[in-house]
Symmetry: C2
Subunit: 694 residues, 2 copies
């Protein structure tokens, strides 16, 4: 699809201002080197180009067809293309899935025909694609009103209008998109498939995707992994971050979306760089195409304005970049270059003096980047229209002589200078905080690449596939679930079953007081709610009384339930309270979750996720990424937890999910973690029927 | 200073590319209508304008003087200007406070001379000011390389370079700055003073300030209040948000800054709109100059791209705007206008069809803004170069026919259309999330204006002044502090002093068990740390033992302390744990703080502040603004707190601070709040010596 040697345009017209006339005009304007075959019985030729009455009359099978006919005729057109041997059709026609239930049915029928005809479909309701290297603007998008700028970014978008805006903004900043593909309703070809094809092209250095929903998370993760293998960053903007946005997205795309927080964590796990919005995406892309990956997160800020320096330091701290104070040696070297009132610590203030002596700026950048604590640098300046040419020369010099990445933040830069710098592979951003965000994008990519290179992968590969939701789910009895947890290497407090009050009292004495009693019944999921739990029982008598009480209470709440006595547990609360668990995500399959317990999970939703399998390094990052991490480090006089042991519990859950694909969900809540270890106090496992009894 | 009828330029030169030559060139180029008096013994005239050998030779007292001489000669120049009767000097000269201790001494001496000479100083180290209405670019800033664009924004900046960038960016978007004043080192005239003068000008509709530090918070708050009285929004960007940024700001400006979190809360309390960075500032300013204040926070999103609509809904939710689902009647009316595949709920997707029929867009906006749940609207579109003129006409129509405010988000808009719209008072923003942020700026202003108009002010006005820090601070004995709290209307748990174990046991029995015992000593601030607290004492015997234990432990920890027996307290923990208190902020004087207790305050720093006096409405907003607010609403099965009673405790603290200006700080920690009330369990009050014994 990206490199067609011939393009048929079904429904072509000479009118350049019409949807079905524009691709032909664009292709000829840009000198598309392949064959163009207009198809329309109403014309013998269009602008001197032979026009064919129907698909059968074409001189051969086109590599690609654009279909610009009414929705009602789309299906027969696809069948005809299939008969001719055309492998892929770009379907401009609208009037399908975007029109509700009726349109969706039409779309399903269309795709069935396409499958039967062996034609892949881009669309329907797409505005097409631009293959800029091949001078093939097979689109009616306004983006192609001006000839596209070829370049090292491959871009796939689920939104036509937004994709057009992003591509046009990129061109205005001198950032070339080698490909821009709009997948429209995404009924067949997906943005992920398209990006995978772009990945093969050596001219493409960075991949960018705009997503509104995601059906198959595994394909995205596989793409991310291949992109890492090839050293090409993958930048994704996915809308629907908030509940309101997710609702709007679902109504717009009709797709069932997984939770955004899961997407966010899993994307990070996979080394995907997530961009918030179109500006953020373009800023990060600009930085990535101009720079290699930094080796750490130390940011040097070099500025002609102290105030801008402060703002950048603020932003760096907010987004987790370090702004290290320069090494004494570095400061000495800077002091030798800067005027007296310059600042050398970081931010480095070169003051307005650098205009009198441009060497000040170039030397400061070189010195700062030589500091071992610095891995990337932002250089801030504004206006300077009178000095634009000499500044462009200066940045060329810097680019030639430094080896670490840098971003130029030039406020209200002259357009010519801006474009010259981008053309020379020097990233220019026009806003202060955005420049820091772009540097952070570089750091994120550096981290992802380094982890991919250096870190140990997960012990086992996942074999879970996406399965449709089912209601045929049943809880696993507590002791059986416990055995499964233990065989995966997860620790729980000492737990024994008892059928009678006497047995319970005896077991409690053996375990050591105080103990807890919990009613055991496969029919009761939430034991506390039926009065089925008694805590802090200090002696045998208390245990006996509690046995009667929890049994009676549970029976009165749920007379029909089948009871299996009680569980006797040693009370044990050694440290920080957490929740751990497994979920079956509709997009990513099994995911492990970990959060801080109690108020943190209930009120703050402070939970981290990872797709199974979870590598040890990522398990640690999940813990480090919790907002209430200070709890784990030992807030309020508690000893710190053992991060390695806690991370091991996360990878153990991952292994458990791999061994037991039937697990639907698992809650370990609470789990207590201290310096010595991690123990689950309560757990609830549910499986899809037919499994779980191994 | 803003309207000089004559300007002397001391150190003027004919060289247009020099700092001391540029103002003369700019003033003449723009046709400054007042008198220009160059002063320089080296020239008889400059470009045909008479040049004076010295200040004494001037034909009269200039309304303003620009001083562009070496730092060493600045002081004598000021004295000469004073002798001549010049009231204000704009001091370009650098080499003062920005150079460290020596420069600071020079600056102090300079300001002393200026005071003695009755000359106000703007600077030193300023790049001057632009009074665009008067065609008076009294500056050497690059901003004036192109003639300034006059308009309804008054802007004062502590940073010259950043201020230049902001002003130039504003001009590029067609946003006129009536004034741009750089206050340089801010040794005398402050941005707040300058803004206060701009406020008087009827042509100025919105004030904007860029601050790096703030010495006198009271002046800023007074300005904000006057601005509200006059219906003019005040937008402030203050850098130093993060610890790293604050450190950089302190080293850059040398000023002692208060905590940013206090600034943030107090600014909100005062109705100031805080902008994060230069783009955010300009976006909000653009929205404010083009619109009146909305009457609520309901946002309608009208878009030609479903994806952009989702992104805007995401952003709205993140920043606390509501995106209400349209009323059924509204949806019906929209359905009558939109194509079948348009969306009517909100976001409203007008689809690409609006180009075929522009009425679709105009009607959709009108219908959406008619919905009573909608108070402001963002209209999103992209490119449309071929339809630019008709779209401009369409927006003019909309502007004429709607009464609620709206913001146009036009991605990659043609420059001409963009500038035409801004000139017509129609706000255009070029990025998706930023358009929502601009709408949020309007909502913030609407809220501030409404509160100013409608809400009850605080009971008493504050009389506290900023006083220098002192180390002469002493704790107030617990019972005395308790009496002060109670007389202000704050409740505490029942607390009695006991000198002996027997007395303690007797009091405990009277209060009712369980009780707590706390050692009482003016020398011991942190009772727990010396083992001076015993909790949950269930009977008289436990109280007796505890009396001996806490006394012995405290004595062994602090043998030199003077002891006053113990306090016996009824144990009472009815609900949510909070901390309340008073602080003396270096910038804003007494501030009240409230936060959620325990982990929330320790780990998450979830604390709200307000300057004294605190109005009842603002006390409620402090509570609503806590991130862990769900705790107050009754998370984890707790009953909800009584917000009114809790807010009353906050205003009571405010009253306490007004009655007792000697209070240095006060911690009520913990405080328990439930449906029935609020009680403090522990408190620590410190006062400046000489007070507190009323």
């Amino acid at each position: 699809m990206l490199h067609p040697r011939s393009i048929a345009i079904v429904g072509a017209t000479p009118a350049r201002n019409k949807l079905n006339g524009r691709p032909l005009h664009f292709l000829r304007r840009d000198g598309y080197p392949g064959a163009i075959w207009p198809v329309n019985p109403r014309y013998a030729d269009i602008d001197g180009l032979k026009c064919y009455p129907d698909i059968a009359a074409l001189p051969g099978a086109p590599d690609m067809a654009i279909i610009a006919v009414a929705a009602a005729r789309a299906e027969e057109t696809i069948a005809a293309l299939g008969a001719k041997g055309c492998p892929v059709a770009v379907l401009f026609s609208s009037g399908f899935g975007e029109l509700g239930a009726e349109g969706k049915a039409l779309e399903r029928s269309l795709i069935a025909t396409a499958r039967a005809s062996d034609v892949r479909i881009c669309g329907p309701n797409t505005l097409g694609l631009v293959s800029a290297f091949d001078r093939a603007p097979a689109t009616f998008s306004q983006y192609a009103d001006i000839p596209p700028l070829a370049g090292p970014v491959g871009f796939a978008s689920q939104s036509g209008a937004f994709g057009t805006g992003i591509s046009a903004l990129a061109r205005s900043r001198g950032l070339g998109f080698g490909y821009f593909v709009s997948t429209g309703n995404t009924a067949d070809i997906t943005p992920v498939e398209v990006l995978r094809e772009m990945l093969e092209d050596d001219r493409i250095k960075v991949l960018a995707g705009y997503l509104e929903g995601l059906a198959d998370g595994f394909a995205l993760i596989a793409l991310a992994s291949e992109a890492l293998d090839r050293g090409k960053p993958l930048v994704i903007t996915k809308v629907g971050r908030s509940p309101a946005g997710a609702k709007a997205a679902a109504s717009h795309t009709g797709s069932l979306a997984g939770e955004d927080v899961v997407f966010d964590w899993v994307a990070r796990q996979a080394g995907i760089i997530r961009a918030r919005n179109e500006e953020h995406m373009l800023d990060v892309l600009s930085a990535l195409v101009c720079n290699h990956a930094p080796e750490g997160d130390g940011l040097a800020i070099i500025t002609q304005s102290g105030g801008a320096g402060v703002l950048m330091a603020d932003r760096a701290e907010e987004i987790g970049l370090s702004v290290p104070t320069m090494h004494d040696e570095t400061r000495g070297a800077l002091a030798g270059v800067l005027p007296d009132y310059g600042a050398t610590a970081n931010p480095i203030d070169v003051t307005g003096q650098f205009l009198a002596d441009p060497r000040i700026l170039a030397e400061s950048v070189r010195i700062a980047l030589d500091d071992p604590r610095v891995h990337v640098c932002v250089i801030w300046l504004q206006l300077m229209h009178r000095y634009a040419d000499s500044l462009v020369g200066l940045f060329h010099d810097i680019k030639r002589t430094v080896t670490k990445p840098f971003v130029v933040c030039w406020i209200e830069a002259p357009e010519k200078a801006r474009l010259e710098l981008m053309a020379a592979g020097i990233c220019v951003i026009g806003a202060t905080e955005r420049a820091v965000d772009a540097a952070a994008g570089l750091v994120a990519w550096g981290n992802a690449a380094r982890r991919h290179r250096e870190e140990k992968p997960a012990a086992s590969a996942s074999t879970v596939e996406l399965v449709p939701p089912t209601s045929d789910i049943r809880p696993v009895p507590s002791l059986q679930a416990l055995a499964m947890l233990q065989s995966a290497g997860l620790a729980a407090v000492d737990t024994r079953p008892a059928r009678t009050a006497e047995e319970a009292a005896r077991l409690a004495a053996a375990l050591g007081f105080p103990v807890a009693l919990k009613i055991e019944s496969a029919d009761i999921l939430h034991k506390t709610e039926v009065g089925g739990v008694a805590l802090d029982l200090g002696d045998a008598d208390a245990v006996r009384k509690a046995f009667e009480a929890v049994t009676a209470s549970a029976r009165s709440h749920m007379p029909a339930a089948k009871f299996d006595g009680v569980l006797v547990q040693k009370m044990a609360r050694p440290g920080a309270e957490l929740v751990l668990g497994l979920r079956r995500d509709p997009v990513f399959g099994h995911v492990v979750m970990v959060g801080l317990g109690g108020i943190f999970v209930e009120v703050l939703k402070d939970v981290a996720f990872a797709q199974v399998p979870v590598a040890p390094g990522h398990a640690l990052r999940m813990l480090h990424g919790l907002r209430g991490r200070a709890i784990l480090d030992g807030a309020r006089g508690q000893p710190p937890v053992d991060y390695q042991v806690l991370a091991a519990a996360i990878t153990a859950l991952s292994e458990l999910a791999i061994r037991h694909p039937e697990i639907e969900d698992l809650d370990l809540n609470p789990v207590f973690a201290g310096p010595g270890g991690v123990v689950a106090v309560d757990w609830l496992m549910r499986v899809r029927s037919g499994g779980g009894d191994d």
